[in-house]
């Protein structure tokens, strides 16, 4: 047995076997066969195409019932595989130029992907990604490798990877993932957020995990204490199973708070909201009073082309109907940084988190932005919808976003399409400059929601994805709480609503401090609701305020952590 330490980012304990996930990477070199070997090479190519076709048919069969939209993507892949022109070119390269099958496939598929990516229609250009997908599948088969994929796992397992990209996790087979271990990634990385949203235990930043944890071997993930046990002995298995049972019992105990009102012991009412993506297990009625963060980028990520206005109206309407009269805050597309889109190739940037992301990117891709804004406006007739812009750093940003919204409104009005003309407009507070100008920006928007993850990253100049800077990313620093105190105060004085939708709102340790700072709207993942409500219902405002005074007077994060430990 060996023990490894890591950063526990999503709580829980799992005992299972390792499934190593590796995105397929292959090296193809310019190579030729001996004269006379052309026919054998051609047979290898034909056999490869046949095998890929069989794989695709199996995937389509599997998906056709449970996810017909995704099945269509693989239908398109079969079509590419059967492309007459590429097939002819490859045969020619093999027979006339004596190229090896993998070199011919790589070159011709890549040339065609480039050809398509140059078409001005973005939806067609985006299909270049499909050609590359089929190319990779064909190369993998030609190299005799099995498929590694997180969307169809054979049995429950612990996923071990160097890193998981949003494109890997978007299709993850969540029912069969017992836990996640990665070598890189911090508490607020995309993998971590997804793991928490799905309630999957996860430990990130386990160096050498892919070396130390071979496929199929036993492993224990203790994401309560940040420990990984490789090939554990019986005693450790027994101890961890006991701990797992106790944890699950505590979670079950917390479940009874799920639908109770969020009221402190001294009857101060707090609103608990829900953060959602496009796929979510909606918690029971009574567990939340608003949807404080509707992330729309998932809608763009799961597809190989940009969603149309109609598709978006449909998705937004469904959320509003599901929310049944509760206000829904739709955050406009927040990509860039760690989130890239298959359907919108973006130039690589030196510092993506300081680059052209979120609102900045939307303002540069105006058609994409206007399509989303029109869709949101059209959906606003189905329920109380609010629009929120991410990455607002200045009043000019807010004004530019509002100008785009006005343009979308006049486009709809010109066509006689109905929408809510008074749709509330708010901002994410996540850039320190706008936190400092909170009183000014509060005059020009209807509400704000604080994104504590990015706010912390930008406040401390500490990359939240980088394990080496984890110690500098101080969520519980008094600096964070002083900034939050200023933001809450500025909006409340302006008579505008303010909430927190970042990870901090769902952290039971932070809940009493946020309450003491004056926050009355907490928005979080469904899985965090019971434990946060349990904390709020077991504290008085006076207790929370006393703690908060001490926190605001503290000088270091470690002092704050010592202060909150008793209430955690």
């Amino acid at each position: 047995m060996r023990v490894f330490k890591g950063n526990p980012v999503s709580p829980g304990i799992a005992v299972g076997t390792v499934y190593q996930y590796k995105a397929f990477v292959c090296n193809v070199y310019e190579t030729y066969v001996q004269p006379g070997d052309e026919q054998t090479t051609l047979s290898a190519y034909v056999e490869g195409v046949r095998a890929v076709n069989t794989e695709l048919i199996a995937i389509i069969d599997d998906l056709s019932k449970r996810d017909p939209d995704k099945a269509k993507i693989f239908e398109a892949h079969r079509e590419i595989l059967a492309d007459d022109e590429m097939d002819e070119e490859i045969r020619h390269a093999i027979l006339q130029q004596r190229q090896t099958a993998d070199y011919a496939v790589d070159r011709i598929y890549t040339e065609n992907a480039v050809l398509l990516s140059q078409v001005s229609d973005v939806n067609i250009a985006a299909r270049a990604a499909d050609i590359r997908d089929v190319r990779n599948r064909l190369l993998r088969v030609l190299h005799g490798q099995k498929e590694h994929n997180l969307s169809m796992l054979p049995a429950p397992c612990v996923v071990v990877a160097h890193d998981l990209l949003p494109s890997d996790t978007a299709t993850i087979d969540r029912k069969n993932v017992l836990a996640i271990i990665t070598e890189v990634g911090g508490a607020t990385s995309h993998s971590a957020i997804l793991a928490r949203a799905f309630g999957i235990p996860a430990i990130l930043g386990v160096s050498d995990a892919t070396q130390a944890l071979p496929n199929g071997k036993d492993v224990i993930v203790d994401a309560l204490d940040g420990q990984v046990f490789a090939q554990p002995d019986d005693e450790t298995v027994a101890r961890c199973r006991k701990k797992q049972a106790a944890y699950l019992l505590d979670q079950k105990n917390a479940q009874q708070y799920l639908t109770l009102p969020a009221i402190t012991k001294d009857d101060i009412a707090v609103e608990v909201g829900l953060n959602i993506g496009s796929e979510v297990d909606w918690p029971e009625d009574g567990s939340y009073t608003f949807v404080g963060l509707f992330r729309t980028e998932f809608l763009y990520m799961e597809r190989d082309r940009l969603p149309s206005e109609e598709e978006q109206v449909d998705a937004y309407r469904q959320v509003l109907e599901r929310a049944a009269g509760r206000p829904v805050t739709l955050r406009t597309l927040d990509v860039g940084g760690d989130k890239t889109l298959p359907s919108l190739p973006l130039p690589a940037e030196e510092n993506p988190f300081l680059g052209c992301r979120a609102l900045r990117l939307c303002l540069k891709h105006r058609d994409l932005f206007l399509t989303q804004l029109r869709a949101a406006l059209r959906a606003s007739v189905y329920g109380p919808l609010q629009i929120m812009f991410p990455m607002v750093g200045s009043l000019e940003d807010l004004r530019a976003g509002k100008a785009a919204l006005e343009e979308a409104k006049s486009q709809l009005a010109a066509n006689g399409v109905s929408f809510d003309p008074h749709i509330p407009v708010g901002i994410m507070v996540e850039i320190p400059s706008i936190a400092i100008l909170a009183d000014e920006v509060a005059k020009e928007c209807d509400f704000a929601s604080v994104g504590t993850n990015d706010l912390c990253q930008y406040l401390f100049a500490a990359d939240r994805m980088n394990p080496l800077t984890a110690e500098y990313y101080q969520t519980f620093s008094p600096a964070m709480f002083r900034v939050l105190f200023a933001i809450f105060g500025a909006f409340q004085r302006a008579g505008k609503s303010v909430s927190v939708c970042g990870e901090m709102a769902g952290n039971p340790k932070a809940a009493p401090i946020l309450l003491g700072l004056g926050l009355r709207k907490f928005s979080m993942n469904a899985s965090a609701i019971p434990t946060v409500k349990r904390v709020l219902r077991n504290v008085t405002l006076a207790e929370a305020e006393a703690l908060t005074h001490a926190v605001l007077a503290a000088s270091t994060e470690s002092i704050v952590l010592d202060l909150i430990h008793p209430t955690a």
Binding site: I80, L116, V119, D121
Partner: protein, 92 residues
């Protein structure tokens, strides 16, 4: 060789499903079939049995196209493909 011309009528042009339908139909014939956009004379004719080449033309609604078929069933092929385009691919 049989050559025919027509205009793309359906809203979405030769993209997505209509493009798939067009290529699927073309593949049912023995003849070698090409398609080119008459509105972009600089672009050469492409293999009508290749979804990628067809998409690379970016043919939108209102584009004039020319279809050429060469082979034993060239007449039927040209007629069937023009009929498909003129039917608007079942779009409104």
């Amino acid at each position: 060789m049989t050559t025919v011309q027509t205009i793309i009528k359906n809203v979405s042009g030769l993209h997505a499903r209509p493009a798939s339908d067009f290529v699927g139909k073309a593949k049912t014939f023995q003849s070698a079939i090409t398609i080119r956009s008459l509105d972009h004379p600089s672009e050469t004719a492409v293999n009508a049995k290749s979804i990628i080449r067809l998409l690379s033309l970016g043919i939108v609604q209102g584009t004039r196209v020319e279809i050429s078929a060469d082979g034993s069933d060239e007449q039927e092929a040209a007629n069937a493909l023009v009929f498909l385009i003129d039917s608007g691919f079942g779009e409104e």
